[in-house]
Amino acid sequence: MVLEATMICIDNSEWMRNGDYSPNRFQAQADAVNLICGAKTQSNPENTVGVLTMAGKGVRVLVTPTSDLGKILACMHGLEIGGEMNLAAGIQVAQLALKHRQNKKQQQRIIVFAGSPVKYDKKVLELIGRKLKKNSVALDIVNFGEEDAEKTEKLEALLAAVNNNDSSHIVNVPPGASALSDVLISTPIFTGDGEGGTGFAAAAAAAAAGGGGYDFGVDPNLDPELALALRVSMEEERARQEAAAKKAAEEAGKQEKGEQQSTSQDAIMTENVNAGISEPEKKTRDLTDDENALLQQALAMSMDDASSSVAVRDTDMSDASADDHDLQLALQLSVQESAGDQSEQTDMNKLLADQSFVSSILASLPGVDPNDPSVKDLLASMQSQSEQKKDEDKAPKDEEKK
C-alpha cells in the first residue's frame, strides 16, 4: 500500500500499428494501461496516476496525476497513432509532472512503454537515469514491440542508472499468444515491489488464469453484493439439504409409502448435492440459484411416476394437500424459496399430524405399543396442535402461491 504518484508514458508512434500483439500493439498497450491504473488506484485510495503520450507531434500530457479512474480511462479514448517516440523528452516531462504533484508525500514513479526503437544514445539515457535517481523517482520500463539488441541494451543501461534499492524494474514482453496485460500482471510492476500483490492484482490474475481461490468466481472486492448473495443462497441450500436428508431417513423407514418416492427424493437430493458441489467449480459461469432450481424441478418431474398428477410446481398447494404429503415434500425440496425454513417446519408438522404415518413409525420402533393409552393421548394432543398450525400456514401459503 505505498502512497505513490505515477506517470504512464504511452508510445503512440507509427510502430504501434503492427499486429504482432493482438489486436494490434497500440490496443494491447491501452489494455495494459487500463489495468495498471486500476491496480494503482485500488491499492491505495490516495494514489494518483497520470498519462502522457511520447510520439505524435510532441510529448503531450493527457491527464495530470489524478485519482479519478474515469478521467484516466476517458483520455485513453480517441488517441491517434503517428510520429516517432521521443523517450528522453517523455521521461523528462513525466518527471516535471510528478514534481508538481499536489501531495508531496507521494513517492514518484514513471512507467514507460517502449515499443519503438530508441534513437538516443546510452550516455544520454544514463544521464537521465542518474537525474531520476537523484530526485528519488522510480522507473518501470515495459520493453515490447520492436526487438533489437541495441534497444534492450540501452534500456538496461537506463534501468541500471535509475535503480535505487530495486525499486525500478524492466519487463521484456516478446510477441506471443498471451496478451501484454496478462504478462504484466505477474510482474513487480503490478505487484508493487514484492508486497505480495494487491487484491486487484490477485483477482485479475485469477480471472485471467481461469481458476483461483474464490468460491464463486466473483472477487469479493470487485462485487461484494453478488459474492454475498451467492454465499447466502449456498448456505440456505445446504441447510435445506440437511433437513431434507433427515426427512429422507425417516421416510425410508416408512413401509407403505414405497421405496420409489424415497429413491426419487434421494435422486433429487443427490442432484442438489451435486449441484452444490459443482457450483464452486463453475467459476466463469454465473449460475444463479434460480436456474439451478428450474433444473432441479425438471429432473424431479422426469423422475416422478405418472400416477402423481400434481407434479407441476405452480399447482395450488391446497389441491396437493389432500393427496400425497410426500409428493408435496418432494416438490418443495426441489424448488427454492426464501421461506424455505418456514416450509420445513410446517412439513414436519404435517408429517407428525398424519396419524397413519406416525403410528406406522411407532409400530416399527421396538418396545412401543401403539395401542398403549399414553401413546394414544400423546398422538391426540399432537394432532390438535398441528392442525392449528396447519390452518395458520395454509393461509399464508395460499397467498404466496397466488
Partner: protein, 203 residues
C-alpha cells in the same frame, strides 16, 4: 573535549543545549541523493555521540557531491545554531543553504530558490564548530531543509553528524492524524446520541 564556548565546560552541560535532536521527527527525516536509503536517520544523535560513527553516516552517490536533507520537527522550534561534522579527504560539505517550512523541495527547486540563510563551511571533523543562525528568521520552524551543493573536492560527500541548538516551543502545526475511508456507510459506526442512550435531549 574542547569547546569554543567562553565558559568552562565542567560547570555547564553543553549537551543539553544541543538537544533539538529529541524534537526531530526521525521517521520522516529524508534525504535526496543519498547512496543508502534511510542512512540519513543515523546522523541525528546526542552531542556526546557526535563523533561516534558506529551507526553509519550519510553519503551521497558516486560522483555527485550534492545532498539535500529534510528535517521535520514534532513541534515548532527556534534554531539558534547548527553544527555539521563531515568526512575526511575532501568529503566534507563546503556550503550549506537552509530553507524553512517548505516541503517537497528537490534539487532544481533548491538551486533556484533563495535560501533563508547560507553558510560557507569549513572542515569540522571534531564537531567543535557551530554556525549561528539569524535567529529572528528561525523563530517558528516546523521543518528545515539543508542543501549542501558541493564539497572540498572529494568524489562523494559524507556527513557524520548534524546538530541543532535551540529551543522547542510546544506549539504543533495542524496535522491530519487519522483518515478513515468508508467504501459503504455503516450505520453502526455512526450512532447518534439518542441511539446510544446518553446525553441530554434538546427540544
Amino acid at each position: 573535549m574542547a569547546c569554543l564556548h567562553d565558559h568552562s565546560c565542567e560547570d555547564h552541560d553543553c549537551s543539553s543545549d544541543w538537544s533539538l535532536y529529541k524534537h526531530t521527527d526521525l521517521s520522516k527525516v529524508s534525504a535526496l541523493n543519498e547512496a543508502a536509503s534511510g542512512s540519513v536517520k543515523s546522523i541525528f544523535r546526542a552531542w556526546e555521540q557526535r563523533l561516534n560513527t558506529s551507526e553509519g553516516h550519510l553519503e551521497s552517490n558516486e560522483g555527485d557531491p550534492e545532498l539535500l536533507v529534510f528535517i521535520p520537527f514534532t513541534s515548532d522550534v527556534k534554531i539558534r545554531s547548527i553544527s555539521v561534522v563531515g568526512g575526511a579527504d575532501g568529503t566534507s560539505p563546503a556550503k550549506m543553504r537552509a530553507f524553512i517550512n517548505r516541503e517537497g523541495i528537490d534539487f532544481s527547486d533548491a538551486q533556484n530558490m533563495q535560501p533563508v540563510q547560507e553558510w560557507d563551511l569549513v572542515e569540522n571533523l571534531q564537531g567543535v564548530l557551530e554556525y549561528q543562525t539569524r535567529y529572528s528568521r528561525f523563530q517558528s520552524v516546523g521543518n528545515i531543509t539543508l542543501h549542501f551543493p558541493d564539497n572540498f573536492g572529494g568524489d562523494i560527500t559524507q556527513i557524520h553528524y548534524i546538530g541543532l541548538k535551540g529551543e522547542a516551543t510546544q506549539l504543533k502545526r495542524d496535522v491530519v492524524a487519522t483518515i478513515v475511508y468508508e467504501l459503504m456507510p455503516n450505520p453502526s459506526d455512526h450512532k447518534t446520541r439518542s441511539e446510544t442512550g446518553g446525553g441530554l435531549s434538546q427540544v
